[in-house]
Amino acid sequence: MSSLVRLGNALGVAGIALVLLMAFGAQFALKELPCPLCLLQRVAFTMCGFGFLLNLRFGSQPLHYGVILLGALFGAAAAGRHVLLHIVPGSGSYGSPLLGLHYYTWSFLLFLAVIVAVAVLLILSGGGRPEHDRFDARPAARFSGVVRLVAYLLIGVTLANVANSVVQCGFGECSDNPTSYWLLQRF
């Protein structure tokens, strides 16, 4: 894999981890609990991060880019649905705006950005190389250095979302408009 494509995928993993950390930051700092659609958008971000992770671990391959695109399209569908719920003036909103846009609008834009990033990485993966070498299918390479750090950060924040979902919603369905944590109410 060219170093530029590897850097792009590492930035993808780091960016997704950063977005998920910022979501946690807003949740705890502003005491705004994520709604079911918000959580599904977080799931979609983890799916995108998983695709970037596959590229870093096993080399740049069409399957991995397909994984990222599926995650981004699923996220765009969830975020788009959320935007449409509040698009008509007077229909309210969910959560505080950040730089003038609500989180679900940012999510929608970020999923579009991921799709654009995949297009760029695909072009960089195939450009100027012989047909048989378009995608690098080298043997799996273990993570090292900064790549290991961002990969473990993404896995950690994904598992933190498991804990957060259990604490907030338990093992059933999340409240449409959550105001308290399910588990904390049990004590």
Binding site: P36, L37, L39, L40, R42, V43, A44, T46, M47, G49, F50, L53, L54, R57, F58, L63, V67, L70, G71, F74, A77, A78, R81, L84, L85, I87, V88, S91, A140, R142, F143, A151, L154, I155, T158, L159, N161, V162, A163, S165, V166, C169, F171, G172, E173, C174
Partner: protein, 51 residues
């Protein structure tokens, strides 16, 4: 239920890190299917889009 979705993707990431790509991609596939079904389950409110 949402915790389960995060868990499936999280385990897929760990499997990928351990070099088990087939398991990782399989888990991702399951995660996508369940996520789409869960999104459909939550799309209950009618959209007010009459301008």
């Amino acid at each position: 239920m949402t915790a389960l979705l995060f868990l499936v993707i999280g385990i897929a990431m760990i499997a990928a890190t351990a070099g088990r790509r087939d398991i990782a991609v399989g888990l991702f596939g399951i995660g996508v299917i369940v996520s789409v079904l869960w999104l459909r389950h939550h799309m209950t409110d009618p959209l007010v889009l009459s301008f």
